[in-house]
């Protein structure tokens, strides 16, 4: 077993070696600019980009012409929200999103609010799902966009995209989805799911960092976004800038591998995830966060009550990489806004760990993790005054704590 063990695959994934092999020639011998139309260097690069565009489109059931390459999902989120807001200004200025969205979506929404947009932030239930009736009731004649993530990055909750898109269609508004965590992990089909714009990224699906895409529907309806990056008019005028050819080639290869291996990968990874979760939930006072019945197959978010997440990670983070909903490192001391939106108390949010398994996770690594995490939880509870109070039957919530 190689250390450290990587269980933070929602943050990023390693490049698949097959992806690297495909990319390498595009740094050296095939280094051309895909926009150079008049010589073989350009033709080779353009051909590679076209092929990758097909590969990426095929993974999400789209047409190649509907793929706009970007620097990543953050840029795609920004382009979708700001681009729709500008393009459809005549139609309205209302956008609906959810409180558990990624910061790239939330901050883009805050930005356009300053420019006159009205944004509704829908709450979620304790599993992280939005209320469909509430969504429908929130849509007005001025609503130009509904922006709901496909699957959440912290807890893995998958929204009911088909039902959401049916509502959007009925009400005549566009649907954008940040599908960064979903694409490549679970079947995503923009037509079956009824999505009009969709952001996703290569580095979450075993491709390179620095490349992503915005899917922009071309028919039923034909969707347009105002470019947020001006320049040479690349990507059908929606995103200027010389194409990152090696990155795009890697993205395409990663997409193809995901499409072909998804079923087998998911079966294997979800089994390991379930093993990890079942074992860790045998620890007293541990709770799974998110929606167990509609969840990404590789994610498990667990709160270990009465121990603090960062302190917990310190017990094994030389050997195991995970992430925590505790934000002890930030100056604000605020725990995860996603977990809080699910109704977790700050104490449970501070006590959470997110395990993100991946294509290269082995059973041996999972077994090691179960043992290391369990041991550390038990050890820290011996040091925890809250655990002692709980064991003595004291009501911790009844204590008047001095908040600082």
């Amino acid at each position: 077993m190689n250390f450290p063990i990587y269980l933070d695959n929602n943050a990023t994934t390693p490049c698949d070696p097959r992806v690297i092999d495909a990319m390498l020639p595009y740094f050296t011998s095939k280094f051309g600019n895909a926009a150079s139309r008049n010589h073989p260097f350009g033709w080779v690069a353009e051909e590679a980009v076209d092929y990758a565009r097909e590969q990426v489109a095929k993974l999400i059931g789209a047409d190649a012409k509907e793929i706009i390459f970007t620097s990543g999902a953050t840029e795609a989120d920004n382009l979708a929200i700001k681009g729709v807001f500008e393009m459809y200004a005549q139609k309205g200025n209302h956008i609906i999103t959810a409180v558990t969205e990624h910061k790239a979506v939330l901050d883009a929404c805050h930005h356009i609010e300053k420019l006159g947009a009205k944004v509704t932030y829908l709450p979620v239930n304790n599993e992280g799902l939005i209320n469909l009736e509430e969504l429908e009731n929130t849509i007005t004649d001025a609503t130009i966009l509904v922006a709901i993530m496909y699957a959440n990055n912290e807890v893995g909750t998958i929204q009911n995209m088909k039902a959401i898109s049916a509502i959007c269609k009925k009400k005549g508004t566009l649907l954008f989805s940040d599908a960064t965590q979903a694409v490549g992990k679970i079947p995503v089909d923009v037509n079956a799911d009824g999505i009009d714009l969709m952001a996703f990224s290569a580095h979450k699906m075993y491709g390179p960092k620095g490349v992503g895409a915005l899917y922009v529907r071309r028919k039923n309806p034909r969707v347009k976004v105002t470019a947020q990056m001006d320049g040479g008019g690349h990507e059908r005028g929606m995103r200027s800038g010389t194409l990152n050819v090696p990155g795009i080639v890697g993205f395409g290869t990663a997409a193809e591998i995901c499409r072909l291996d998804m079923e087998a990968d998911t079966a294997r990874i979800s089994k390991l995830r379930d093993k990890l979760e079942t074992a860790l939930c045998k620890i007293e006072e541990s709770y799974v966060n998110g929606c167990v019945s509609s969840r990404l197959p590789h994610v498990s978010n667990i709160s270990f009550k009465y121990v603090e997440g960062e302190g917990l990670m310190m017990g094994f983070n030389k050997n195991i990489a995970v992430s925590s909903g505790s934000a002890c490192t930030s100056a604000s001391l605020e725990p995860s806004y996603v977990l809080k939106a699910l109704g977790l108390g700050d104490d449970l949010a501070h006590s959470s760990l997110r395990f993100g398994l991946g294509r290269f996770t082995t059973e041996e690594e999972v077994d090691y993790t179960i043992e290391a995490v369990s041991k550390t939880v038990l050890k820290l509870r011996e040091v925890s005054p809250l655990w002692e109070m709980f064991k003595e039957g004291m009501d911790i919530n009844a204590i008047e704590w001095a908040h600082h």
Partner: protein, 133 residues
């Protein structure tokens, strides 16, 4: 963020973890922080009424590694000190000893607060007015 050797050592081998009998008149208990903030420290001292020296100190902490280390270090420093010396322990002494980064200074502040709270709990129990470094 990398932890200093000293933080790691206190985290891995915390000193003086435990509980003193909070009902004894010779024991002072300080409970500071809040679960919502991700840090709760309970620090206890036992004082010899004749000499006013701290004969024992125990802690339990819910928090990150730096919070555990700060309270573990505090108990080590408290043992054998007089109340007058103990009340002068400054959070910056803890920051320096553990090489805490700026984002972890609040852990040392909490430890200083816990020391003062424990001392003043002992003093209150024994009919003495509160003191503050």
């Amino acid at each position: 963020m990398a932890y200093s050797e000293k933080v790691l050592d206190h985290y891995e081998n915390p000193k003086n973890v435990g509980t003193l009998d909070k009902n004894k008149s010779t024991v002072g208990t300080g409970l500071v922080g809040a679960p919502e903030c991700g840090d709760v420290m309970r620090l206890q001292i036992e004082v010899d009424p004749a000499t006013q020296l701290i004969t024992d100190a125990k802690f339990k902490t819910f928090g990150c590694g730096s919070a555990i280390a700060s309270s573990s270090l505090a108990t080590e420093w408290l043992k054998g000190k007089s109340i007058d010396e103990a009340i002068k322990i400054d959070n910056m002494d803890i920051v320096e000893e553990l090489a805490l980064p700026p984002v972890k200074i609040h852990c040392s502040v909490l430890a200083e607060d816990a020391i003062k709270a424990a001392i003043n709990d002992y003093r209150a129990k024994n009919g003495l007015e509160a003191i503050n470094g």
